[in-house]
């Protein structure tokens, strides 16, 4: 077994150098049907071994696309040589960071693979349902994407382990013509942690979500442009989750803090309304499994929750071992790499705004003139806390009632300023379990939140 092969390589770690050896396999399964044409049908695997060696404040890293004892030895040697090569250039040497206790960590769930035929049949069945049920569509697409990761981590001075991240999603996109002939689109993603049978054995709830998506599309086809300006809005949990990840999460990743983010030097400050608390959960949320459970990171740190904002006060950053040492903080297991040849970076896991006490109905009823913003297709944030999200679905709120749908728009603001305007928070967290983050490398993440009421700048005509 590769696990045994890699564990044996500890004897090749040089004394005094902080070394990690990682074996990793990513599997991808995808099928894509557009307007009934099966245009994408692929399976792929990427696997290999990497090693990272820390010496005097710099890292040597190497990776090899082989899964063998000989490849492991070669990779450790190359990483060690690279660390020594950099040592020639760096005159100011840093001390090693503190060692962590050794243990062996496994995640409770491993990976099940399904034949492509099963995936193709699933997509065809759903596509046929959409074609039959919704003849008013201009176009439709159904895609299935599965990305599973399996990692074996072996370290010189932290925990070892064997962890897995199975995840799959179904992506449905529909378009229809508006009254003036414009193509109006809307999409949704369904699925999450686990495999095909976990999420798509019973298609009844899938069809209910597609029905809801179609209703929103029909409303949007008769929609209006949002009025530009600063508005009182209710952010659906999906949009609030995006705030937690993009607008707040990235600014409190320690590598970006060191790069000069707006959160630098503000630990202990009131940065949000006292109704706002944000946590990056490791693997367990309120007694249940978080949507992307991380038990051990790629530096051998046993994962635990990272509290970012508590009752509006900035409490901490997310770290890798090096930044934790720099800030005198405890690492919580946020360091992960996407494929075997990627060095680990500080990444979020399950980042959410914590629930409050209001109901969504009361929140909508409280708005005289504003918007209910439901879906977002992407988001970006900056060091300054300035952010934007694309809004793909939403409704006007007039006199406490939902009104006309709105067409695609963009919302923007400065994260901490926005969070200071939060004055209502709903009582239920909804997770968006199929997120990806693109900070140098792609990385599966999840984000979530309750609905929140705040003021935000909306782009429009």
């Amino acid at each position: 077994m590769l696990e045994d092969i890699l564990l044996k390589q500890k004897s090749l770690f040089e004394t005094g150098l902080q070394t990690v050896l990682r074996g990793q396999e990513n599997r991808y399964r995808s099928v894509s049907i557009q307007n009934g044409n099966l245009i994408g049908n692929s399976r792929s695997e990427e696997r290999g071994i990497c090693s990272r060696v820390y010496l005097g404040g710099a890292y040597g890293f190497a990776s090899t696309a082989e899964y063998s004892e000989e490849a492991a030895a070669r990779t450790i040697k190359a990483a060690t040589e690279n660390a020594r090569y950099l040592g020639k250039y760096n005159t100011q040497k840093k001390e090693p960071y503190p060692s962590l206790g050794s243990s062996y960590v496994t995640s409770p769930r491993m990976i099940i693979d399904f034949e492509q035929k099963r995936i193709v049949e699933l997509c065809k069945e759903i596509d046929a349902h959409i074609e039959k049920t919704y003849p008013d569509l201009l176009s439709r697409s159904v895609s299935y994407n599965e990305m599973t990761m399996e990692k074996i981590i072996v370290t010189s001075d932290a925990a070892d382990g064997h962890v897995a991240y199975p995840r799959c999603g179904l992506y449905v996109k529909m378009s229809k013509k508006s009254a003036d002939g414009q193509p109006i689109e809307l999409s949704d993603a369904i699925g999450g942690f686990g495999d095909l049978e976990d999420h798509f054995k019973d298609l009844t709830p899938i069809y209910e979500k597609i029905e809801k998506l179609h209703k929103q599309l029909c409303d949007k086809a008769e929609g209006v442009y949002a009025e530009a300006g600063v508005k009182t809005v209710i952010l659906h949990p999906d949009v609030a989750g995006m705030i937690a990840h993009e607008a707040i999460g990235h600014t409190v990743e320690a590598d970006l803090v060191l790069g000069g983010s707006v959160a630098n030097g503000r630990i202990g400050e009131q940065v949000a309304s006292d109704l706002v608390s944000i946590v990056d959960y490791a693997h367990t949320f309120r007694g249940g499994q978080a949507p992307l459970p991380v038990y051990l990171d790629d530096e051998g740190v046993v994962a635990k929750d990272a509290v970012l904002i508590e009752n509006g006060i900035l409490k901490g950053y997310m770290h890798d071992r090096e930044s934790a040492d720099h800030f005198g903080a405890e690492p919580c297991g946020n360091s992960r790499g996407y494929i075997f040849s990627d060095e680990p970076l500080i990444r979020m896991r399950n980042t959410t705004v914590l629930p409050g006490k209001d109901t969504l109905e009361d929140m909508i009823a409280s708005v005289d003139d504003g918007y209910y913003l439901i879906s977002t297709n992407n988001g970006q944030a900056d060091l300054t806390g300035e952010f934007m999200f694309g809004i793909t679905s939403g409704y006007e709120i007039k006199n406490g009632k939902l009104g006309r749908a709105i067409l695609d728009t963009t919302v923007s603001g400065v994260a901490f300023d926005l969070l200071k305007t939060v004055d209502m928070v709903s009582d239920t967290v909804t997770w968006c379990p199929l997120g990806y983050c693109g900070k140098k490398q792609m990385m599966p993440v999840s984000m979530g939140g309750p609905a929140i009421r705040c003021k935000i700048s909306i782009g429009g005509r």
Binding site: S42, A58, A62, N377, E386
Partner: protein, 432 residues
């Protein structure tokens, strides 16, 4: 080093045992060396040894693909079997096909032997140049890398392309920072094939650093108005990519959501605009030599003087939609320069912005774009008044193409695109 010829023979022989099918495959062996710097210090040195095999098979008009990163015989043969199983589980579509057989050919580019010590020197020099000449810049991270690869592309119609390539790349992430305040993140990157020049002189690195320093004290725009936007080359590329994605690419054609489905030969933009897809332009470093379907890549024009000349259709989309196949699939964009100097373009702006990038969602088929103007400067009466924050722009991309007022003489060549500044009117600009 892997013996690519021997691996290709194993694949070819195994495919022959599967009966009558069409297939193509690419085997690539590559090595990448990457140096990272933060705050003037080297922090990471990576060496990545990679193998890649991608195979596509078509049997009875059914298509399946498989990708692995090992060359072991058993794994390679299993990959072919799995691609075939996937195809058999699929639906037949007579539009799936591969290119006809072509004469075998060898390709290579200039930078096949790296000089890592020299690259290190150039990185140190860049770091010193920034520390000396751009004191209000904080380099968050800089990656300098060299990639060397060798690949074989073979199809069952007899094509055999043997390609050797090597290129350098630098990516810089930085912000203006005076110790108190920080600007947003800027990214500047360049592909290049030699180390003759100082890195700060490549692409738009020097100008991007200067712009970031000049963005430290942003001014507020409080009103909303319709004005001009001068897109920097990087931002022009971003905007034109959105247009192309919604009009000439496969998805827009197959889904019939493109607004240009019946516009070949018609005016779709200002006569000032010519967009070419030119992988063989000498300013494009390390480009595709064959299309994804196996045709030899050739240059072609997408838009010439505002007239739509070609879609970027793959062989499948071409067969499916009854349109002409594009001559390459790389979309290495080369936009023709105009006759207006950049300085004159700025002077011609009555009220508007210079925009370095747009933070926005991918616009849909309607072309409606709204987003936050990043790395942006407010211009009034031909003078740059200062950097702006929290300023949104919105426009319709199809209208914007007709609202182009000028294209610059100056071009950004960063190794993967050649792009001028583009000035467009009629953009809604709203401050906070």
């Amino acid at each position: 080093m892997a013996d690519l010829q021997k691996i290709s023979e194993i694949i070819t022989e195994h495919i022959k045992t599967k009966g009558d099918l069409k297939a193509d495959f690419t085997i690539t062996e590559s090595t990448q060396r990457e140096i990272s710097m933060k705050d003037g210090k080297f922090t990471l040195f990576r060496t990545l040894f990679d193998n890649d095999l991608s195979i596509m098979v078509i049997k009875d008009h059914k298509r399946g693909t498989k990708y692995i990163n090992t060359f072991e015989k058993e794994a390679v043969e299993a990959a072919i079997d799995e691609a075939l199983s996937s195809a058999e589980a699929s639906d037949p579509d007579e539009c799936f096909d591969i290119a006809p057989g072509l004469e075998p050919e060898n390709f290579s580019n200039k930078a096949l032997v790296p000089d890592i010590d020299k690259l290190m020197e150039r990185c140190l020099e860049l770091s010193e140049d920034i520390a000396r000449d751009h004191k209000k810049i904080k380099v968050m991270e800089m990656f300098a890398k060299y990639t060397r690869g060798h690949s074989l592309f073979i199809n069952t119609n007899g094509t055999r392309d043997d390609s050797e390539y090597g290129f350098y790349q630098i990516v810089m992430e930085f912000a203006g920072n005076d110790g108190q305040n920080s600007t947003g993140i800027n990214v500047s990157w360049v592909n290049f094939d030699n180390l003759d020049k100082k890195l700060i002189e490549l692409g738009s690195i020097e100008k991007d650093l200067t712009d970031a320093e000049n963005s430290l004290d942003p001014i507020n725009i409080s009103d909303k108005f319709e004005g001009d936007v001068l897109f920097t080359p990087a931002c022009a590329y971003q905007v034109l990519s959105y247009v192309m994605g919604n009009t000439v690419m496969d998805n827009a054609l197959v889904n019939k959501t493109s607004k240009w489905l019946d516009k070949i030969g018609e005016q779709v933009a200002s006569p000032l605009l010519t967009i070419r897809a030119n992988p063989w332009d000498e300013r494009i470093i390390c480009h595709e030599v064959h299309t994804l379907d196996g045709f030899r890549s050739e240059n072609y024009d997408v838009i010439e003087k505002g007239v739509l000349k070609s879609f970027a259709a793959s062989l499948y989309a071409s067969n499916k939609c009854g349109v002409e196949r594009a001559r390459n699939t790389g979309m290495d964009a080369v936009v023709d320069p105009g006759d207006t100097p950049y300085e004159d373009m700025v002077k011609g702006i009555k009220k508007g912005l210079i925009v370095g990038s747009i933070s926005c969602g991918m616009p849909g088929a309607t072309g409606e774009l709204s987003g936050v103007a990043k790395n942006a400067f407010y211009v009034e009466d031909g003078k740059i008044k200062g950097a702006v924050m929290e300023t949104m722009i919105s426009t319709n991309l199809f209208d914007m193409l007709f609202n182009i007022k000028a294209i610059s003489k100056e071009l950004l060549c960063n190794g993967s695109m050649v792009m001028p500044y583009i000035l467009a009117g009629g953009v809604t600009i709203s401050g906070n």
